[in-house]
């Protein structure tokens, strides 16, 4: 047999035999969990990412959407098609339709036979709602329910569109590409693009938007990227799924980060478990190594035998972990079924590779330095037992493990600053834990020593506590190691549970029961009070009525905007279209000031109020939304010129705001102080919540305020709620994995400490301690360890939570009393429970066996 084969066989046999030992099982479980957690989350995020891209494509109507005000040239079409993209034409315009004497302006969308690229539309042809993957056939129009209501038409009736008469074929419940229609406030009417000439609507000077929707592989989209960039600079509006993700939004982005965080926590925990288990593994194998040296194994052979043995272990654990991970991601997907598109890409091979790599890295990083100790075993140890090689320095072990974990952090997050920050933060925390842990142990030992010495009964609780405390302080170094491992485990478990709770609370708070589900726009100033009165009492929850003026940014610092903004923002919607401007004396609810100052009327003009303040300076202060300002490269103090109708006015950026775009409230990019925009024509907008049974009120509003446009966003709202529900369940499943990884640390650490405990238990037995007292002493020791670990973990978690919330998850930090109760209690129960379970066997053993008098090692 060749040398490598011999070593492989030898190591494989060794591993099989070794599985009888608790430390190897602990190593196996820890590695399998690390792989399971990382592959599950890897698989899941990979598919989620691809799924979201697909969904974004569905919302946009294609992977790339081009838009301009004239038809697209054949040459461009040919270029896109030759790259492997399928094209679909669409024409959008605002037009009037009529039925008898009734007229209504509509948002007309004409589609071709290819429509839709993705997804299905839900329509009703007079009966049940059905799903169709087509647009209207020639000669037919489909109308939105609101249009049907306004014109009082049903399927089968006919409508006049421009110069043509069309049959109403269906009522559209949901369009296949909904985002395309969301920006327009007129009710939707869809028809076939071939019918457009019949209507005579396409004429010189008509405001028409031509869209070219392209669908294809990510590679095909990538291939045309340079062309898209050029088109952007030529003024074509280009939307690309990779950049224009829908704002489903921040909830999923947070969930994504949470899952990554949880995955890393599981890997870290598994790493700590591996480190603990390896210590015991190495101690147990010192004898094997010495014997092997005796029988003629060289140092190199020793290293190979043990390294290969652990490699086998890592590979089998990876396999088990990967299967668990696959099952886990399938469960995640089942929970998230409705968020994912129907056609899911199969799980990729990459996450599996990453999982195995993670196992090997964790093993090398957390076990490597400890393992090298086996190499230095002297054969003479078989004759002189005290000849153990020195253990690897604790700091050396920590530094190597931290290096490897830092590398994994970097690999997973792709963010080296974050990885380094977490790494050094973690090392500092460990240093602090070391000091605080030492002090805590000393304090516990002193407290326990003060417990009453004279107890009424032989095995009273106090006595057990005092003896348990003494045991802890006697083995100070070992106790400190265990304390740190437990504290790390409890900390990670606590953190993940904590962040989950706050994440869910934030989601719930984001969309409370009474979140506005209707928008009313175009409320004229004369109707404002009457509209407000109609809502008062009927709609419990509603936002304020905001005035709204349509204006366009026409200059930045006196120059054309296209010349002043970064190149990639030249085609930005905010520059191409009119923005909704508003004014307000107060910062609207849900807005957060992130830079500059909110408007303050100056003291000297206090009596004159805002009007005076503004009149004093022709350039009004304005407050801008932060992301828009960043996109356009604007900073505090920059001057913008707006054109409203035929007038112009100037504003200087005085503050930047963060908005909650998922709030279902009216949001504005630009806010003026009162006293500037009132001179222009304006209308009001508001949002309010109506229950299912309040449709009468809607009809009343439509009847009494015919010019006001009402938008029902309940279906979008319920979809977002659905997504949040499912993501919540996914988050809980991941939490279970982290908790399991935490338990594996506790298990590994306790298994590692068993030989010493066995020896002590044997001695106590010899000196006459009964089963009950022994059990109580050990129980007290575990409970004290658990309590101290829990307290340490709680303080660390509180600090870390504040850091993570503000920097990573975008949540505001808060105080968590539950941590200070939950973690110490959890520590007592978990460490106590697992410890008692593991040491039950010890107590049953004869003292001679525990003390090694029977020749056992």
């Amino acid at each position: 047999m060749s040398e490598p084969m011999r070593l492989l066989r030898l190591s494989w046999r060794g591993l099989k035999r070794d599985l009888r030992a608790g430390d190897v099982r602990a190593l196996f479980v820890a590695l399998a969990l690390a792989v399971a957690a990382s592959t599950m989350i890897g698989f899941f995020l990979d598919r989620l990412d691809r799924g979201l891209t697909r969904q974004a494509g569905q919302l946009l109507g294609g992977d790339v959407v081009l838009e301009q005000s004239r038809p697209f040239e054949t040459e461009l079409r040919e270029t896109l098609e030759s790259a492997g993209l399928t094209l679909s034409d669409q024409v959008d315009m605002v037009s009037m339709v009529s039925r008898g004497d009734a007229f209504q302006s509509v948002s007309l969308k004409a589609v071709d036979d290819v429509y839709p690229h993705y997804g299905v539309s839900r329509i009703s042809r007079g009966g049940d709602v059905e799903e169709v993957a087509d647009g209207p056939p020639r000669g037919e129009v489909w109308v939105a329910p609101r249009l049907a209501m306004l014109l009082d038409v049903e399927t089968g009736d006919s409508l006049r569109v421009g110069g043509g008469e069309f049959r109403v074929g269906a009522v559209i419940e949901r369009e296949a590409d909904p985002s395309a229609g969301f920006g327009s406030f007129n009710p939707r009417l869809m028809m076939h693009v071939d019918d457009l000439p019949t209507t005579g609507l396409v004429q010189e000077g008509s405001r028409i938007e031509y869209e070219l929707l392209a669908a294809g592989s990510a590679q095909a989209v990538e291939d045309v990227a340079p062309l898209l960039a050029r088109l952007r600079t030529e003024g074509v509006e280009v939307q690309d799924v990779r950049e224009d993700r829908p704002r489903l939004g921040s909830a999923l982005a947070r969930a994504d980060r949470y899952l990554s965080l949880a995955g890393l926590a599981a890997v870290l925990l598994a790493g700590v478990a591996v480190a603990m288990a390896t210590r015991r593994y190495v101690e147990r194998h010192l004898d094997t190594a010495a014997l092997l040296r005796c029988f003629g194994a060289s140092q190199r052979e020793l290293v190979w035998i043990f390294a290969l043995q652990l490699l086998w272990l890592a590979l089998t654990a990876s396999l088990v972990g990967a299967v668990l991970g696959l099952a886990g991601q399938a469960a995640l997907l089942a929970l998230l079924g409705a968020v994912m598109p129907i056609e899911l890409p199969p799980p990729g091979i990459l996450p599996l590779g990453m999982g195995i790599f993670t196992a090997l890295a964790v093993l090398a990083g957390f076990a490597g330095p400890t393992l090298l100790r086996l190499r230095r075993v002297s054969a003479l140890k078989v004759l002189r037992r005290e000849l153990d090689p020195l253990p690897a320095s604790a700091w050396w072990v920590v530094v190597v493990a931290a290096g490897v974990f830092g590398g994994l952090l970097w690999l997973y997050s792709g963010d080296i600053v974050l990885a380094l920050g977490l790494l050094f933060g973690g090392l500092l925390a460990l240093l602090a834990l070391w000091g605080v842990g030492n002090a805590l142990l000393a304090l516990l030992a002193r407290l326990c020593a003060r417990l009453p010495r004279e107890a009424k009964t032989h095995d009273s609780l106090w006595r057990a506590l005092r003896l348990g405390g003494q045991q802890l302080s006697r083995r100070r170094a070992a106790s400190l190691g265990q304390l740190l491992a437990f504290a790390t485990a409890l900390f990670a478990m606590g953190m993940i549970a904590l962040v989950r709770g706050d994440l869910l609370d934030t989601w719930r708070a984001q969309l409370p029961e009474d979140t506005p589900n209707h928008f009313a726009i175009n409320i004229q100033p004369a109707e404002r009070d009457a509209f407000e009165a109609a809502l008062t009492g009927a709609a419990e929850a509603r936002s304020a009525l905001y005035p709204m003026v349509r204006g366009r940014i026409t200059a930045i610092e006196g120059q054309p905007p296209r010349e002043m903004v970064p190149e990639e923002s030249r085609g930005d919607n905010a520059l191409r279209r009119e923005l909704n401007l508003t004014w307000s004396a107060e910062l609207p609810t849900g807005n957060r000031l992130v830079a500059g100052e909110w408007f303050e009327p100056s003291a000297s003009t206090a009596e004159e109020g805002w009007m005076g303040a503004v009149a004093a300076d022709p350039v009004a202060p304005i407050s801008m939304e932060r992301e828009l300002a960043e996109r356009l490269g604007l900073a505090l103090g920059d001057t913008l010129t707006f054109t409203v109708g035929s007038e112009t006015l100037q504003g200087r950026v005085a503050s930047l705001r963060d908005l909650d775009w998922d709030s279902f409230r009216p949001n504005f990019y630009v806010i003026f102080p009162p006293g500037v925009l009132e001179q222009f024509g304006h209308s009001y907008i508001t949002a309010f919540h109506l229950d299912d049974g309040q449709q009468d009120l809607v009809r009343g509003l439509i009847r009494d305020f015919p010019a006001v446009t009402l938008l029902d966003v309940e279906s979008i709202l319920s979809r977002v709620r659905e997504v949040l529900d499912q993501v919540t369940r996914a988050v809980e499943l991941v939490l279970v994995f982290v908790l399991l990884a935490g338990v594996s640390v506790l298990y590994a650490a306790l298994v590692a400490s068993m030989p010493v405990r066995a020896h002590e238990a044997g001695l106590l037995r010899v000196f006459g301690a009964g089963d009950r007292l022994l059990s109580r002493i050990q129980g007290a020791e575990f409970a004290l360890l658990g309590l101290a670990s829990g307290l340490l973990a709680a303080s660390l978690a509180e600090l870390a939570a504040a850091g993570i919330y503000t920097t990573w998850l975008d949540l505001s930090p808060r105080w968590h009393p539950a941590l200070w109760v939950g973690l110490p209690l959890g520590g007592i129960l978990l460490v106590g429970g697992i410890g008692q379970l593991l040491s039950r066997g010890l107590r049953r053993r004869a003292p001679a066996a525990s003390l090694g008098l029977l020749g056992e090692t």
Binding site: M1, G296, A297, S298, A379, L380, V382, L383, R384, E856
Partner: protein
């Protein structure tokens, strides 16, 4: 593995010249062995007697190449150990040297069979398992192959260790107080088995002990005192 790798059958299998071992204890240099000389012929059985702390185990460690002397020359199978590093010495031992220890040194997670298999697997012997089974049968443990050490008595554990020492066809077996952890009756039986196996296999046996009954069974007895070896007469051993 060849049993005749050293050329001359009468050349010593083990040869020590002016062997000295010093250890540093605190600030003091302790000399455990002083210019000690020894020659062991193939097939011979040799007992080294001595008081506790006389340095018997240190000498055994040196002779087996588990440790290196401070000064002096040492040869095993005709090969100078001083010229070899620790790995070289290990390679020299592989398959040719067997050990029996006072505390048995069985691995607790391995069955009796697996413990015996261990040295065979290291040298990749073809019929390893059959050989291990047969040796365990010879020491009377054919029915206890799958028992873990903790399921065996002390005597049974030492018999597993004997099977492990001889299974490779070792030319040289070192035994360190093989009966030290056993009661007299069990110890007696172990000695019987040890010499029986030694006789059958024609192995050279070097054992250190403070048990005169055990020493008497050897061809030659030496006493280790003040760091030197002194030949003992039959009478001295019997006394």
């Amino acid at each position: 593995m060849s049993n005749s790798s050293h050329e001359n059958a009468n050349a010593p299998i083990l040869h020590a010249e002016d062997l000295t071992k010093q250890v540093v204890s605190g600030e003091r240099h302790l000399t455990i062995l002083k210019e000690l000389n020894l020659s062991v012929l193939p097939g011979e059985s040799l007992a080294i007697l001595g008081q506790s702390g006389a340095g018997k185990s240190t000498l055994l460690g040196l002779l087996a190449g588990l440790d290196a002397p401070s000064t002096g020359r040492l040869a095993m199978f005709g090969q100078a150990l001083g010229a070899l590093d620790e790995d070289g010495r290990a390679r020299l031992r592989a398959g040719r040297v067997g050990f029996v220890f006072q505390n048995f040194q069985l691995l607790p997670t391995l069955t009796a069979l697996e413990n015996v298999l261990m040295p065979l697997e290291l040298t990749a012997v073809a019929d390893a398992e059959a050989r291990a089974r047969s040796w365990l049968s010879r020491v009377g443990l054919g029915e206890r192959l799958d028992h873990l050490p903790k399921q065996l008595s002390g005597g049974e554990q030492q018999r597993v260790a004997l099977a492990r020492a001889f299974v490779t066809g070792a030319e040289l077996v070192f035994a360190d107080e093989p009966t030290g952890n056993l009661d007299p009756t069990t110890g007696e039986r172990i000695i019987d088995t040890l010499f029986e196996l030694n006789h059958e296999a024609g192995t050279t046996l070097v054992l250190v002990t403070h048990d005169h009954a055990l020493a008497r069974r050897c061809d030659r007895c030496l006493r280790l005192a003040d760091g030197q070896l002194v030949e003992m007469t039959r009478e001295e051993v019997g006394a």
